[in-house]
Symmetry: C2
Subunit: 198 residues, 2 copies
DNA sequence: TCCAAATCTAGAACGTGTTTCAATAATCAT
DNA sequence: ATGATTATTGAAACACGTTCTAGATTTGGA
């Protein structure tokens, strides 16, 4: 037992298993998307039994949405440490979302897997979904507020952020399902942001 | 062979089979949602062989999205024949979407099945998806324009309609997946419409 | 009317998410 | 250290979407 324990519950071995499972999930998703994340393959690659995998994550959706949360946590962390460039709220929001969209589109298979899982998710995954929503909201809100670090977001800000998130998500969904082009995602968001932040 | 043939291709018997399949689909979806629409059950209830079902609809998703199209066609037809009440664009859009939302929420299982299918749909269902999008766009656009029947929608109108559709869809998705309350759907849309139509 | 092509049927079979179970291993309180 | 509890393993089994096959049936043209 090392003294350095993370906030995650369970023994060392359990935290290790959990990490291996999520790593295997991301690796498989990155290589072949949603369909490649097969529970038997995840279990094999993570060196755990299938039953153990299900003890840690009650379904494929939980697994993927949790992985999505981990990715968003990192993205939000990164964005938190840097000043968002841009003179207007519009520019700043587009910087963040354009950036994030491009990053996601660099790993199309992974993005497809995670987005599809997000779409599938039902009430039993509400916590994980909420977590992801919070991270996204935080990023966009920070972009709207800009340099004014201490500005308390107004109700209107919050409402605008929600609408932008919805548009972004729907556009992303169109792209991962192969119904729209990569550029269309950023375009859709840009139109929405223009309508909302004026 | 009767003389009255619909626009649907194929022989009489084939049109009958197709109708039986879609009817069985709606009935099963209405009774138990997405999970109850099992391909074997649909085939049984429609009195066709499983192979035949797959000849008519290449996947469960095609089947459900086609059924969704039929439902939306009817809804749009109904709304087309009536004047939309309300003095402002906001009131009229909310009337239409509030109405439609309430109608969908009367049949939660059916709505869950159709919405989930819509979410799943990939490029191979693009035509059916597009059809549904057109119907929805038509309804909302008519509501924005109000009594001015001949007004040509501006680019801005079109953009606004897209954003509203996205918000509505995302909210509906939250509800069918059991993550939000029924009222939240209309509330979300109302906030978005207020931000966009001012 | 008859033949060839297309369609339909019944049912088996396959893949993958999920569940279950008996046996083994690890952990923890006393 | 020991016994009890809990976690893990390996493997079988199940459910449902989907595919495949062999034989009937229907259809449409000569």
């Amino acid at each position: 037992m090392t003294s350095v324990t993370e906030a995650t519950p369970g023994s060392n071995a359990q935290r290790e298993r959990r990490r291996r499972i999520l790593d295997a999930t991301i690796a498989l998703a990155d290589s072949g998307g949603f369909d490649a994340v097969q529970m038997r393959a995840v279990a094999d690659n993570a060196d755990v039994a299938l039953g153990t995998l299900y003890r840690y994550f009650p379904s494929k959706i939980h697994l993927l949405v949790t992985a999505l949360g981990r990715q968003f946590e990192r993205a939000e962390e990164q964005s938190r440490n840097r000043q968002v460039p841009g003179d207007t709220a519009h520019e700043r929001v587009m910087y963040i979302l354009g950036h994030t969209t491009t990053a996601l589109q660099q790993q199309p298979e992974l993005t497809e897997a995670l987005t599809r899982a997000f779409m599938f998710a039902d009430a039993s995954v509400a916590d994980e979904i909420h977590f992801v929503g919070m991270k996204l909201t935080a990023m966009i809100t920070r972009a709207i507020d800009g340099t004014d670090e201490n500005r308390e977001p107004t109700d209107e800000d919050t409402a605008i952020v929600r609408v932008i998130s919805d548009v972004w998500f729907t556009a992303l969904m169109g792209w991962v399902t192969g119904r729209t082009q990569a550029e269309d995602v950023t375009k859709s968001v840009d139109v929405a942001v223009r309508l909302l932040l004026r």
